[in-house]
Symmetry: C2
Subunit: 305 residues, 2 copies
């Protein structure tokens, strides 16, 4: 199976700490790298991850709070100094384009690559990126300012050739592509061998949903239903449920509740408040609701299966 | 003597590396903290230094390349979240004010402290800050865009009371302040004791000059003449003297030449190109010209004596 994994570059929240970088992740899917959010210092974390800068073509910003986007201008500038020529696609709320352009005009003159801005409408669910093998859907979250979640979903792949059956029925090589496309095989004596006998089921479709920043949303499970992995912010523990509501964030237990309601494969917590010296309390509270929960940590990689 | 020291937060150059943070320093003088430059990630380095954020009242930006100022907006935003109420004074090229204001309008609504912008004219030498005990003078450097160096200089302090002589001549306590102000003491029998006999020399005036980014400037020694410590950028070694000239930077040997010509106390090198895996070569080349040279390193503190 092609790798589908999350490189966590930062999982802190608004106040910077020495324990956590502000939010950023790389979604690696079939050799492509997609960045979600880009807090201050992200370019250094990207360097630390050893992901080649040239592999990164798309940056999705969930919303325009500084801890999710202050690192973008520095990264754009550095890519320029490194001689990038491939376009860089930025997906963000439309209000951001003039701000970004004015910063770039001031600080990034002479860039030899194009920064292509794709305004996102955080008000409704929509596919904002699509290629041969996957889609990215943006969907609204419930934060103080317009904020998007992102759902990365593989497209169903074709069934796999079953080499043993191909040999057994002596299917000529010239027919392999047809079989792969779903055709049956008609033997010289007229016997029809159904495609299902000549092939193995395709890889299961994997998906990843990113939800930060947001209040607990009772209806969110409809959108992220059945995803292989859900990243859901858990800024607070139960001790701060009132703050979670007040500041439009979630508790770990609320994140787990969404995971449970959506019947996801795994839950990844993040966006921890600076008040927690360690996040084991958050992990414990989430696991009480949804056992298959992990804490996101900087420089860790999480495989989606 | 009151502390006068430099906390190096970052001494890398334009391309970020895992070895060096982009440029930022804190000048600590008599309990006040002044920041020079504020590259991306500076607020985290400031946190690492354990300097209290509230102690910082003034930020001086040498020039408007990203590696010297991309960290400012994040720091301003964080100070707001931490409930700062004291004004923060920013000294920078006048072109920066509209850019900064538009970023602040977008990202820092509801700040409860004032950001006071002081436009600097990098075209001539001028005192841009003064208080009871010190001055900060900006002076032009030779870079691709307008760029200032900064000279921090203590004001001469008063002579110290010589307790032994005061006792010996039985000077009454009521006269101590007059003696401190420089008056002589007239004994009851009419004998005049000159002030120099009753006092000890004042502390020597200390000074610190910061020069980054700049080409070698043959006339620079006139401005930084005799400073206690000179920080001079040394982006390159002798192997890249042509690049230094081309990109308006200096070699370590050129930095040392300025130190030598200006007869400074100590030389501190910094702003190292990402191409050097370690800077000992730069140190060696500088020391061949000016022996009392040190390499600036992140999280180190350099006392000015």
């Amino acid at each position: 199976m092609q790798p589908f994994r999350i490189h966590v570059l930062g999982c802190g929240s608004a106040l910077p700490t020495l324990r956590h970088n502000p939010t950023s992740q790389i979604v690696e899917l079939r050799g492509k790298m997609f960045m979600i959010d880009c807090g201050e210092g992200t370019q250094l974390q990207l360097r630390r991850s050893r992901i080649r800068f040239t592999k990164l073509g798309h940056v999705f910003l969930s919303h325009l709070h500084g801890d999710h986007c202050f690192g973008l201008i520095g990264m754009i500038s550095t890519f320029g100094m490194l001689g990038r020529t491939a376009p860089l696609h930025i997906y963000a709320h439309h209000d951001f384009e003039p701000v970004l352009r004015s910063m770039m005009d001031f600080f990034c003159t002479g860039l030899e690559y194009e920064v292509v801005f794709h305004p996102t409408d955080c008000g409704r669910e929509e596919i904002i990126y699509e290629d041969r093998s996957m889609t990215v859907t943006a969907f609204p979250l419930d934060h103080r300012i317009p904020c998007c979640g992102f759902l990365f979903r593989e497209k169903p792949s074709r069934r796999h050739i079953n080499r043993n059956m191909i040999d057994f029925y002596k299917v000529p090589l010239s027919q392999i592509n047809n079989i792969r496309e779903g055709m049956d095989w008609v033997m010289p004596d007229g016997t029809v061998i159904p495609n299902e006998r000549l092939t193995l089921p395709p890889d299961p479709v994997r998906s990843y949903a990113y939800c930060s920043d947001t209040r607990y949303m009772p209806e969110l499970h409809n959108i992220v239903n059945g995803v292989s992995m859900l990243y859901h912010e858990s800024t607070y523990g139960d001790d701060n449920e009132a703050n979670a509501c007040k500041y439009y964030h979630s508790t770990a237990a609320q994140a787990a509740r969404v995971a449970c309601e959506a019947k996801v494969g795994k839950l990844l917590l993040g966006h921890y408040s600076a008040r927690y010296d360690n996040e084991n309390l958050l992990l414990k509270e989430a696991r009480a609701v949804f056992p298959d929960t992990q804490l996101a940590m900087e420089n860790n990689i999480y495989d989606i299966v």
